[in-house]
Amino acid sequence: MKLLTHNMLSSKCIKGVNLGYPLGIEARDIKVSKVDFNSEFVTRIIPKLDYKTLYGAAEKLGHATDLPQTVVENFESNEDFLQKVHHVLLEVEVIDGDLICPETGRKFPINAGIPNMLINEDEV
């Protein structure tokens, strides 16, 4: 699970959960791989992100050292910033671990890099 995916997941589907966002992360296995940098894509995705959630997730995984805590001004022309966002969005992956509903503590397991967001019928 890449952190861009994490940025778009929520546990609101659970009955009684208000926002279900952001999901906590407990990572047992993290993989960092090289993904081609595409500045045009990163520039386009930044306005769609919940940046605070991205920063929090990167920090939790120990990959926020160089990452600014907020989106920098004129980020479109700041290649250094775009590279850093690219790294945490697409190159850092949780292979094994859990996502945690912030309101109920319910865990969603991540196995083989795939988050399992299924809930039981009695949770809907």
Partner: protein, 212 residues
Amino acid sequence: MENKEKLDTPLWDLNNYAGGVYEPMEDSFLLLDTLEEELPLIRNLNPAIILEIGSGSGIIISSLAGACQNSFCMAIDINPTACLATENTAKLNGTSVNAIQGDLVNGLKLKNLIDVLVFNPPYVPSEDKAGNELIDKAWAGGVDGRATTNRLFPYLNDLMSEKSVGYLVAISENNPLEMCTILENMGFKADNIKSRRILGEYLSILRFTKGI
């Protein structure tokens, strides 16, 4: 890599997932053919996020991922084997798809994030008791074959971005005309853009758009 003009039929190899994943069939190929024709429209949108619900083998989302290299491609499937097969098919084709195991859009943040949506639902009319096994969930669509699609409709307005397009597979028993009316009543522009008769089924591809 340069974007290609054609949508290549992707490679797939389900040998490691035998019997556990819906094999690509005529409906998959009709959807691929349609998406190839739609590529200019899709590229013109410059989508940031592309989502396929019920990706199965992963051939559809993998071919889109290959054709839209400036997009983040995601796939949701209720079947964990299909999630693995989807990511594997993407790799086989030199691209990347991010799978999530889930039921429809449950688990997704519904904040108008999706620019392109593809859904080849379980559309075959079936008795309610069918579809208990995971592999049957790939085809069994309830009484009018629309049980799953009907469950998706209420989420679409919050799912789709301000400028977006979605593609749905349907058969005549699903009443595609009525499906278009439902989508139009929700504020989308909806059309039946492709039809093909295959063995025992009359298939359609419905397109719905917002803001374009």
